[in-house]
Point group: C2
Chain length 538, copies 2
């Protein structure tokens, strides 16, 4: 057997790798050890390599990987600042017992570390800054030509999106037919793919792109497996040894990237060749191999994986119906007791599949309905035609009308309580989310009210509290402050209204919302109506 | 300390116990061993007693209990037919090493055994007969006077309800103030309750009532703990030893009753003195002490217990909102992967609490919405006034208009597929449940359609299949067959319509539904239009 392609470019050190190899490294940056070792046999299978990193009482083991033409690398993301030392371990003397040290400095201003679960249902960066996922999906963007990949990045940089779902394995056989470097495996002379040898050129590009996403503030929700094109590529039906080796290799290469999330699969239940036991095993491999505990989930079509299992950090849900009306999404939270991300709620577009023909208004509605239920919603776009291809398949440019409105929602959430939006009264009032007593987003959806009478569920409210109200047009992207303060008065066992006339006129259009913010008591922090208004940024 | 009451009636053998003590016993009946032993000290605490039952290779251990005035009993429910032998074990010589044998016969016609989970989301009796829970709630019916208890049973016998939620512990201090036999614990001379001694008179009555429920075809969903009145009774804040002893005693007395379900608590999250760890422990005690694995759940107010834990057999949900509209309840199923029973969806009534003022139409709507989502809904009634008191508190009589409509639903479900109603197309068509390709219930809720065009999600359908349609008025309780057969024709990728005109006129009223039943192909079973119609029973 003879190998074609895949290794020729391995010696080209990317900017990304060059930066990573600096002797000093910022916290949550990448420290990389490069070593020369054997290139004979099958280094991907034959050579074991890892390093033991220590800083004071903290110790971390990280697996290395073969990067072609005799080069081996170990990548490490220091999670604490200080002097780190390391020693390598290998079953090859050339690679074993190498030692070194480096200093981990404070992170750059835009480096907040990896994203973690926070407050049971939400997310935050490792430094405590809130992370509000505003995701999109481009399954195959990494399998396109370089120009299209660049265009996808340009699009993302001017979009509201801060998370992208993306596959490592190609989603069609066509994607790798003419470009073996779009495939993570090495191609054999007979045209078949060798699951025991990785295509380092593919991975070097993948890492470059994930680094560019990081620099654009975008989390990479890396999908390890999926059912698409599997009949032709065979990648959905590899043997367990190949699956496991592939998972370990991807984790060894990418885990040091702070913006990585692990998505074990897209539509895992359509991968008919794997059992739930296989997914359990793969989850555990990813959990064991990743020293940094990046977020882990799995996405489904019809049948959910048991997300109560301890290695599932959050839910990655396909379900447009759950965010198509009030009072639905919240039950996912209640049952899962983990953050709920509706990664797939159908796509804005006009194709002839019912999952790909959402009107932009409906996409934005779903974002808002998910938000006020204390969950997170992801975007996707699927317009007809191949030039440009659909965003969900290949990236490129966005043609839809929802992204600016999603950006508007993002701007609203940027000043919401950092702990995240919580459902306020799940059993009786489904239109409102926020933080009881402090902050409310009241969404009207497709209703077209001409007025609203101030009325809020009573939790944490008391007579005399004062609130400011902004009228939000979520479609036309306007914030209109109501030029008065509302002073609370109990209406009933369950509700508070206000002193005097509580009516607020509304324009009779759909997709309106209210932002209701408590005005700090004068004693603790002086507040005037004008300072409240100026806070709105419009 | 001196004991008042509670033991005087222990020698009176109830009809229930007399039947149970017969030398032969039917499968899933009760075989009871009665022994005389020490009455001094505190037999509830001091004496350990159990029996080891064997039948061929099957062995079961059952705990005994002290029943007052020197009498000890061990109750056993044989789950297989054949010759059983037993030997007792005790830390008292008088009770130890007693042996005996008995024959377990086939069950009586109305005895289907205990209810189990079936098909992940549904229930069936141990003999395989389907059990479709149509529950109601009378928390404190067992703490009322005998006449009112009798009346509750009379009401239940002519109601559609086949499950009742009921508390062992009194829900108010008033309920036990003048009647110590309404309390499971013994009263001390100072009026306080002794959690280390049980009131056998209370339990003998409880058992009699559970036996009467069994004979009426009603499952007893026995609630072990709750928060109500705890400040006055102290029963929500007993020490762990008392809680555990109480749980063991209840299980020892009741587990042999085939119609018992265990509900660890009502509104467990309002029992502020217990942690989730306490509930875990109590669940495990019930699981270990009950040799028959009766169904186990726990009911909540706002915060759910982690129902993925292995000792939770099904969900017991408080949530009216989840069954107040289409597309909600189904997510509970998807996440829990266990049967979902919405035991509390607010109550039909007119009290000034928002959970107790449902219109009967709304109660019936919630039953239907839960049903087509593949879940189960429970009834409750709370009308103003103390004479009679509210059904949910004390039982007695039913005043509402929902029970006959719930009976109508029950009659519809009696001829539905025995595997239970499944959601058909959770992502796009939320109005229909049933069994794809065979049986559909399409519910319109509060919509008032004047016609419906035959259209079903395509799963398991093919051109030429024939269906019969009945128009159901779920409020007026009528079944009106449509006098034609509908022959399927594919409409689109997702939908089937019919050949010719598929329009069915509807009366423009709310609460209508359609029952759509496949007509068996003539080749396999000859079917005429008239035989289809006669099948409807109206």
């Amino acid at each position: 057997m003879k190998f074609l392609g895949g290794f020729l470019l391995a010696a080209a050190v990317s900017l990304w790798a060059a930066l990573a190899a600096a002797a000093n490294v910022e916290q949550w940056g990448i420290y990389e050890i490069a070593l020369q070792g054997p290139a004979d046999g099958n280094p991907f299978v034959d050579v074991e390599l890892s390093a033991h990193f220590t800083c004071g009482q903290t110790a971390v083991d990280a697996r290395g990987f073969y990067d072609g033409v005799g080069t081996y690398r170990i990548r490490f993301m220091p999670t604490i600042q200080g002097d780190w030392r390391y020693q390598t371990r290998s079953n090859r003397a050339q690679l074993d017992g190498k030692t070194g040290q480096f200093l981990c400095d404070k992170p750059a201003a835009d480096n907040h570390g990896p994203v973690r679960v926070a407050g049971t249902f939400h997310f935050a960066y490792a430094d405590g800054s809130p992370f509000v996922p505003i995701g999109t999906t481009c399954y195959g963007w990494i399998h396109q030509n370089a120009q299209l990949q660049d265009q996808t990045l340009t699009t993302l940089r001017s979009s509201p999106f801060n998370k992208i779902r993306m596959c490592v394995l190609p989603t069609t056989a066509a994607a790798i037919k003419d470009d073996p470097n779009a495939c993570p495996f090495a191609r054999l002379a007979d045209g078949k793919w060798d699951s025991s040898r990785f295509n380092v050129t593919f991975f070097q590009n993948l890492e470059k792109r994930i680094g560019q996403l990081r620099d654009a503030g975008v989390e990479a929700d890396v999908i390890l497996f999926h059912p698409y094109g599997g009949k032709d590529t065979g990648f959905d039906r590899m043997d367990a040894a190949s699956d496991d080796r592939y998972a370990r290799y991807v984790v060894a290469r990418l885990a040091a990237c702070r913006n990585v999330w692990w998505s074990l699969a897209n539509e895992f239940d359509l991968v008919k060749q794997k059992t739930d036991g296989d997914w359990d095993r793969l989850f555990q491999i990813v959990q064991q191999e990743d020293p940094y505990e990046h977020l882990r989930s799995i996405h489904f079509s019809q049948r959910m994986y048991d997300c109560s299992k301890p290695w599932v950090t959050h839910l990655s849900v396909q379900n447009g119906m759950a965010v198509a009306d009030f009072g639905r999404a919240v039950w996912y939270r209640d049952l899962a007791r983990k953050p709920v991300v509706f990664d797939e709620v159908c796509y804005e577009g006009d194709i002839d599949r019912r999952w790909g023909q959402l009107a932009p208004q409906e996409m934005v509605l779903r974002f808002w309905l998910g938000t006020i239920a204390g969950t997170y919603v992801g975007h996707g776009e699927s317009f007809k035609g191949n030039d440009p291809p659909a965003w969900i398949s290949a990236g490129g440019t966005l043609r839809g009308q929802s992204p600016p409105r999603i950006a508007f929602l993002k701007s609203i959430l940027a000043t919401a309580p950092p702990q995240g939006i919580e459902p306020i009264d799940r059993f009786y009032e489904t239109h409102v989310g926020g933080k009881s007593g402090e902050y409310y987003l009241l969404y009207f959806g497709q209703e077209k009210p001409t007025q609203w009478s101030f009325e809020l569920p009573s939790e944490k409210l008391s007579d005399g509290m004062q609130f400011h109200v902004d009228v939000l047009d979520t479609w036309n992207m306007t914030v209109t402050p109501v030029d008065r303060q509302f002073k609370l008065k109990r209406l009933s066992r369950y509700l508070f209204g206000v002193e005097g006339d509580g009516k607020i006129p509304l324009p009779g259009r759909p997709y309106m919302a209210l932002r209701i913010t408590r005005i700090a008591a004068p004693a603790s922090r002086p507040t005037t109506a004008s300072s409240q208004n100026s806070e709105l940024g419009d």
